[in-house]
Amino acid sequence: MKLNKRYVRSIKANLPFYIAASVLTMVTLLMFYLFYIAGTGINAYGDEFFSKYKLESATFSTYKEIPDEELSALESKYGVTLEKERFAGVDDGDVRVRVFAPNKKIDLYDIQDGRDLRSDGEVLISAGFAVENGVKPGDKIKIGGKEYTVAGTFLRPDYLYMVENESDDYKNVTSFFLAYMTENEFTSRFGGGSINNKVIYGAGTDETAFRKQVNEDYFMSGYLAAANNKRVTFVHEQADMFLMSSWFILVIFPLLTVALVCILLGRRIRAEQKLIGTLSALGYEKSKLMRHYSLFALIPGVIGGILTSVAALILSTPFGSLGLADYEPMKPEFHLPVWVAVAGVVIPALIYYFAAMLRVRRLLSEDTVKLLAGQVGNDAKSRRILSRKKAPIKRKFAVRQLIGSPGRSFVIFLGIFLGAMIVAFAFSFIDSVKAVGVQAHGEFGSFKYEYILNTLKDGRPEDGEAVFALPYEDKEARRFTLMGLDGDAVLWNRTLTSGESADTDNGFYITTLFEEIFGVHKGDPFTFRSIATLEEKTVRIDGVIKNGYQSYILTSREKAAEIAGVEGEHYNAVLSDKALGYKSEEVIEIISDKTYETQMDNMMTAMGGLIYAFMIIGMIVCIASLYATINTVIAENSHNISMLKVLGYENRRINSMILSSNHLLLIPGIALGIAAAYGVMAWYCAEFVEVESIIIPATLYPQSILCTALITTASYIISLLLLCRKVDRTDMIAALKDGRE
């Protein structure tokens, strides 16, 4: 039909709107795409790597070494794969090394750079440390006073997140690394070394029976399932965090953006009502007109979707890599699944298509005469505001624009709201993570140092407060710590959610995080078992301690020892409000009141790139949505603008008159955007407990609120400045010819 000739002309005439709407669609969809691609890419890489390099099901140690011939018997009996791993710890002062003899069946290494070992004078070192410290194949490195040539770097599946100790929360690739030596060299340096048993369970393995037999025959001294090993689980947890974020983003931001673009498209179509009425009067069928206008609406959807796919292809790898900055240098391939790319183009395009179609249909249900006169949607009831009041015209005009055109005001509000929400969400993410660092230690207690000892000691320490702590697991093998304190100990937090203090001498208390993870509440019985012996014990929970960062059961030292089957007074950790003189060989780890804060700061440094990318996207959304919206406002006001120009109003004054009413929407838009971001963050944090086993307090500091307000206002001003020329370019004569009221 001849009408189709309008497409190019109309697109040219409304190009800024189509660009802004396409950019909006692209940017918000891109956020979803990037998080989704990163999540699926990491998951796929993890699954493949774990499978290819034979990730363990668990690591365990025994007091009595399992003879080699018994390993085969156990393998046959339980359908498992077993291997003894030989290792030794070397402390070189500033750097600590965990040296391994190569495994053959479980937790195999993958060379990243260089080549495998060929001689006794060579070592392989963990890739993260090599990258961090600039060590390359061919370089020399000293381990325990002996110099080796670095043959290559490697990754291994049970160390993709490099924590030195099981209890550490944050990686260490600066002063700790793994190394492989040849069997021969390992034996000559360390003899048999220490032994860890690695197991991979088969599909039909009765894990409990296996563990019970190992304990009965060889006395289990430690057991860590891969599912509880953060060196392993952090990979999928990171992927899950990306995926969870992607669905949050999808539910909130693209939906709001699509709604905004639909509203703007509707208003654009309504502005064409005279033409629609004319074509209808000329005999054009409703279906033809609906199709004609719907095709215009496809433009931002299709262009936005295609741009999203292209941008996602370019950005997915650097974006995903930003999220993996904390990990060993894995190299996942980030692919955009075809169905996601197609859905990204088709879904918004179809939504815009049908929104436009419905709008035209609604218009055509109106009286044609009203359409021809351009009177549809010009309900003037609320324009009477201030009509009998003495006030400057500018103010009256602004108030009527605001209240008299609620639809128009709503889209501007939505643009400001959306921008503020995304920016505030990014700030809230940063603040919430920081809050963990700042608040966490307060919920731990008032101690300055916690010394985790590597041996069990008797009696009471000379300085500090004694703690007896051992790990246990529930029936689903989820681990936690059972801690015992003396009744007069004051350095550990005992404050219950009710405000009272936990009476540890006479009860068992869990933390709020424990409550979230295990689904146990005050008054409930809770059954758990020893990790070594699998002996079960049931206790009744007497209260909940306010602590969203640690998952433990707190009781008296006496009860904790009794459950562990140990007689007498013992402790394996010491709390102190001052530094104590423990030697480094006596302690596994020293936790200070700044440890958690430092770890969170490190986490933010690693995640900073992601968050700031998110913030920039927020600003783009803010500018693009406001640009598209205010562009529409100016187009709708072109008659008034022309008339004011004819009457001798300067552009500056016209801008102020037409657009000043929108300034009033800034405050509620920003305020509600911030409130919504906080709400979304609280929701996100609640879901985050499942993924990361930590209760993050949704936080937004005053300075972040101020920054959000400033960034949103700046985006608003930028979009106004971009549109200043639009008023200048408004054709007075053409608009006046069309200005029949």
Binding site: A380, R388, L647, M732, E741
Partner: protein
């Protein structure tokens, strides 16, 4: 002369599609006179009005109004020129729909250097009783009177009327023309009316006929008639 136009040319489009809206117009008008410019549709009369009013600019030639050469003025200077000197009245009134009658007039008086008394104008045009109504609540004739009030409140030197009765019935047209006549008599405002209605020519001191962008004739009206006397 209050208005002097020399060799005014304006072309729209290029190449084969080029149309000369004004093709060498020379014309002048004395201060305080009423001039009616007659011509069929597309003859260039609206273009001429737009040029004199500073809404558009010439390709070549010169326009001087009250001694001020407005040819080649910047957009900013043209805005100031319109603000200080010119009152416009359009066929379709072009009132601001969001503003009441009073506010539509006030929108000009607020920026005028030496505005007339608004109440006096509204009373003179017999629209004071509608001051709190919105344009859509008025008849065409009433809206046009509001447009006249808006044009006059700044006490312009020059009143430009583009087919001001084109959308009105005979009774409303006569009423509107009477007000134009009254304003000219009371304030001595130089008035330019463009129309294709020959009957309005009788109201003028000077009648200019324009065809195909050129002045066809300029005649002084020896037997000027009042609005009540002309046959619309």
């Amino acid at each position: 002369m209050f208005i002097e136009i020399k060799g005014a040319k304006k072309q729209y489009g290029t190449g084969e599609a080029a149309v000369y809206a004004l093709d060498g117009v020379d014309f002048s008008l004395e201060k305080g006179k009423i001039c009616v410019i007659l011509g069929p549709s597309g003859s260039g009369k609206s273009t001429l009005l737009n040029m004199i009013g500073g809404l558009d600019s010439l390709d070549s030639g010169e326009i001087t109004v009250d001694g001020q050469n407005i040819t080649g003025l910047s957009k900013k200077a043209l805005t100031a020129y319109r603000k200080q000197n010119v009152g416009f009245i359009f066929q379709f009134y072009n009132l601001i729909p969001d503003l009441t009658v009073e506010e539509n007039v006030q929108v000009v008086s607020e920026i005028a250097a030496d505005p007339l008394d608004m109440d006096e104008i509204l009373t003179a045009l017999d629209i004071a009783k509608y001051r709190y109504r919105f344009p859509r609540e008025l008849s065409g004739g009433q809206q046009q009177r509001v447009a006249i009030a808006r044009a006059m409140v700044k006490n312009p030197k020059l009143l430009l009327c583009d087919e001001l009765t084109g959308a009105l019935d005979t009774r409303s047209s006569r009423s509107v023309l009477k007000f134009i006549e009254k304003i000219n008599n009371r304030y001595g405002t130089t008035t330019l009316i463009i129309t294709h209605n020959e009957a309005i020519a009788d109201l003028a001191d000077t009648v200019v006929r324009i065809r195909d962008g050129k002045i066809a004739s300029v005649t002084e009206n020896a037997k000027k008639r009042t609005a009540d006397e002309i046959e619309l």
